[in-house]
């Protein structure tokens, strides 16, 4: 493989250089019917799961077919997408903010052939390459992150947990039968690139072992004061250690010491310093959070809450995790009111009932103990419901 230059001259990096030109103008990419009716849309209809019709004031219509995208996609897959767009949509397409693919056509009769084409494309294991759905009161695609595919801090995989979950919930993607939209997000560590902090249901990778300290290397690879400063709970302090180096030589090195019982496994130290790895097969796994939302519809946006503190990593299909998710989705689907988001439902019935109805064991770990605001999550009221056994003091004694 011979190196082929783009024209860039490393000796004269400024030669011919173009910078700060920003993204391409979106107007270049708008399908004609969209361009023509820009800002002049009258209303929309969801004709069936995955198929939208937008009506313009001019009377024009644009039909959108939405397909599940798996986000991590190869150029092979993109070329298949563009091929479809060329065949049916005059070479236009878009992606949604949740990584779905939208094919738009400007008349109704173009929908069926498009759909047929999409659904006919399957992978070797029988998966749909372009499942249609993700509209209305459904579970659409999962916003997620890198996981073991690319990142250095994950506590679980992203693409795998997402695939396992979407396989489990596939029917909810292709239907619109939930009480409201149910948005699932996934993030592989507490940095939460998947912004799982406000999703109806969130899959979150978490660590449970404090960092190991690579005493021999830390002073070379990291700035110790930065590592110390990185810890939000001040569990790290500068220290010295006597070590036997790889060379066999005994020496005293500058390093850090960690108060393990203070550590909350946030991983921020590791982000700042590679000599403090946390990852561990048994320590790492998944927490489930529920009840967040973004939209201002009826109720204000809200944060997701931890309801299952830990599920072990069970690659490749994380069965305990998917089963638990299924329980929550089913309980919600069965019990919530129309238009009621999962978090609003849980608040209406009371979180004590949520655990009962979803059949999720309650553990002390879901009680907040982080900083002052924790207090506001405890119950300062006698208004609560009985759940099985709690009315008997003998049962709640340790």
């Amino acid at each position: 493989m011979a190196f082929i230059s783009s024209g860039y001259n490393p000796d004269k990096p400024m030669e011919n250089r173009i910078t700060d030109i920003g993204p391409r103008d979106f107007n270049e990419f708008l399908p004609p019917v969209i361009k023509k009716n820009f800002g002049k849309w009258a209303y929309h209809e969801i004709l069936e799961p995955g198929v939208l019709m937008h009506k313009a004031e001019s009377g024009d219509e644009v039909y959108t077919v939405r397909c599940g995208g798996c986000r991590l996609m190869s150029t092979e897959h993109i070329r298949e997408i563009t091929e479809i767009a060329d065949k049916h949509c005059d070479g236009y397409l878009r992606f949604t903010t949740r990584n779905n693919i939208e094919f738009m056509v400007d008349s109704k009769d173009k929908i069926e052939p498009l759909k047929e084409d999409l659904l006919s494309r399957k992978g070797p294991g029988g998966d749909y390459k372009f499942p249609i759905g993700g509209t209305g009161a459904c579970i659409t695609n999962i916003v997620h992150t890198q996981g073991w595919i690319h990142c250095h801090t994950p506590a679980t995989d992203a693409s795998g947990t997402v695939k396992a979950t979407m396989d489990e919930l596939f029917e909810e993607f292709t239907n619109m039968r939930l009480p409201a939209i149910l948005r699932i997000s996934m993030a592989c560590c507490l940095n939460m690139c998947g912004a799982v902090h406000c999703s109806d249901l969130a899959i979150l990778g978490i660590h449970r072992k404090p960092p190991m300290i690579d005493h021999e290397y830390i002073d070379n690879l990291c700035e110790i004061p930065l590592a110390v400063a990185s810890c939000p709970v001040a569990a790290i302090r500068p220290s010295k250690a006597e070590i036997v180096a790889e060379s066999g030589e005994k020496k005293t090195v500058k390093t850090v010491a960690i108060k393990n019982e203070r550590c909350m496994f946030c991983g921020n130290c590791y982000t700042m310093c590679p000599s403090l790895p946390l990852a561990d097969q048994e320590g790492d796994g998944i927490a489930l959070m529920v009840g967040g939302k973004i939209s201002n519809r009826i109720s204000a946006p809200k944060f997701s809450k931890v309801v299952v503190a830990f599920i072990p990593n069970e690659p490749p299909r994380w069965p305990t995790m998917t089963k638990t998710i299924r329980k929550i989705v089913d309980a919600y689907a069965k019990n919530a009111n129309k238009y009621e988001r999962l978090g609003d439902w849980a608040e209406r019935i009371g979180w004590e009932k949520f655990f009962e109805v979803c059949d999720i064991p309650f553990t002390e770990h879901v009680i907040d103990d982080f900083r002052d605001p924790a207090y506001y999550t405890w119950r300062q009221s006698t208004n609560f419901k009985w759940t099985h056994g709690v009315e008997d003091f003998a049962n709640i004694k340790k």
């Binding site: 991590l72 190869s74 236009y92 749909y128 073991w148 690319h150 912004a195 238009y339």
Partner: protein, 437 residues
């Protein structure tokens, strides 16, 4: 034939949802076949090795990627995430495996032509694997070597008229909902504002001068389809200040069952016939709707523009005519001090062709944050640390009750000396004349 056995990953090829494993395998195969006769600039078995390293992670439950190190393109402080494998001997194809963030067009519309061209470039100089799109919004090119970074950048700028997105302590790639391009709810042109500010702040996007990352996101209405309120340091959410427009005939059609509620979004289940009282009026959070003589009446001064009624009856109810946006600030993930949503700073501002007022607010915020923000302190954390009042001060905005959900319940008010009659300087001896020890 696959270069390696991946028995665990193979189990992710079944099931109805698109399989990323099948896709990567297909890409691996395509690379080996090389039907397009590409002169691959990075190892041909990059995809095989990626599968291999991932299989290993599935076995041992840990990642095999190391910290990035500083790689990038000359003069830019962002756009590239460096990545190296922690088992380079076993997986040489991914020994270097950097990603590049390519600034997506506002609203994520594309032509096939443009995407195909990007694919050509990325097959040639990278792994051929992408994210469409990254969580911030970029087109993410996953996996290339250090030497290719400048080459790709050169080609992107020269042949594609296309720049990189953000990473590091700078402005991150702004993102928007599709807005007016295809949505009747859009209260301003989100794509135009997004594009304008992205261009206006290219320097901030490419050259880290901030204490930490900073994100803009643009939602055309309170439905929040790009999640700006949760994911951006500065969030622009469309709204209006006049009245919801009502088409009473269409209301009647909804009530009569001629039009499906919520554009058919609930059609998959039998929820019974549409009941405007129960489904709209009773659910209105401000209880400002009523039916009078069969006509729907909205007390607009009580309306909080939550979108519910409009979502349920998009053919009958329309957003007002006098539109603009609200600006909220400080959203972020939980590291370090707990997550934040954006807090309302500007209840309403017009979004006209001239964005000067908006830019003034942005720049005032940045000036403050750059002056006072600690290393790796997000705007939201600074606001918490120095107080909402300080944010108002630096943006020259008066306190209004819209800024709060409720007033303080503690009485710990930080009075300033100039507000207190007589000032703070007092003479203890004078005081003691009237108050013996």
């Amino acid at each position: 034939m696959a270069k390696r056995e991946t028995p665990l990953l193979d189990q992710l090829e079944s099931g109805p949802w698109p399989s990323f494993v099948s896709d990567i395998k297909r890409a691996a195969e395509a690379r080996h076949k090389n039907e397009r006769n590409v002169e691959y600039q990075i190892p041909v078995d990059v995809c095989d090795d990626l599968l291999g390293v991932l299989e290993l992670s599935y076995q041992d439950g840990t990642t095999h990627w190391k910290h990035g190190g500083i790689v990038g393109v000359f003069g830019y402080g962002g756009g590239v995430i460096g990545r190296y494998c922690d088992q380079p001997e076993n997986f040489p194809g991914v020994a270097h495996f950097h990603t590049m963030r390519v600034n997506q067009p506002s609203g994520k519309y594309y032509t096939s032509q443009y995407l195909n061209d990007l694919c050509d470039l990325w097959d040639f100089r990278g792994s051929g694997l992408t994210n469409m799109h990254g969580a911030t919004g970029d087109i993410v090119f996953i996996g290339t070597t250090t030497e290719q970074l400048e080459e790709i950048f050169f080609e992107l700028t020269h042949k594609f008229d296309q720049d990189l997105g953000g990473s590091g302590s700078n402005l991150r790639t702004p993102a928007t909902c599709l807005g007016q391009s295809r949505c009747e709810f859009a209260c301003y042109d989100t794509q135009a504002l997004c594009t304008h500010l992205t261009h206006e702040y290219q320097d901030e996007l490419h050259r880290p001068a901030f204490p930490y990352k900073f994100k803009f996101k643009f939602d055309g209405c309170p439905n929040g389809c790009v999640a700006s309120i949760a994911r951006s340091d500065l969030s622009f959410i469309g709204t209006w200040r006049d009245e919801i427009r009502i088409d009473q005939e269409a209301v009647a059609a909804y009530v009569g069952g001629e039009i499906q509620p919520n554009a058919g979004a609930f059609a998959g289940r039998d929820w019974g016939p549409f009941d405007i009282q129960k489904e709209v009026i009773d659910l209105c959070p401000s209880q400002c709707m009523s039916l009078e003589d069969g006509k729907l009446v909205i007390d607009n001064k009580e309306c909080t523009r939550c979108m519910h009624c409009i979502n349920v009856m998009p053919r009958a109810l329309k957003i007002g005519n006098d539109r603009g946006c609200s600006m909220l600030c400080g959203a972020k993930s939980p590291i370090l001090d707990g997550a934040q949503m954006g807090s309302l700073l500007v209840p309403f501002i017009k979004v006209e062709d001239n964005y000067d007022e908006i830019q003034e607010i942005i720049e005032n915020i940045w000036d403050w944050w750059m002056e006072e923000g600690k290393n790796r302190e997000r705007l939201g954390e600074l606001i918490k640390r120095q107080g909402f009042q300080k944010l108002l001060e630096v943006t020259n905005i008066k306190a209004v009750p819209q800024h709060i959900q409720e007033p303080r319940s503690n009485p710990y008010i930080l009075w300033r000396e100039e507000e207190v009659e007589g000032g703070w300087d007092r003479d203890i001896n004078e005081f003691r004349k009237h108050h013996a020890r």
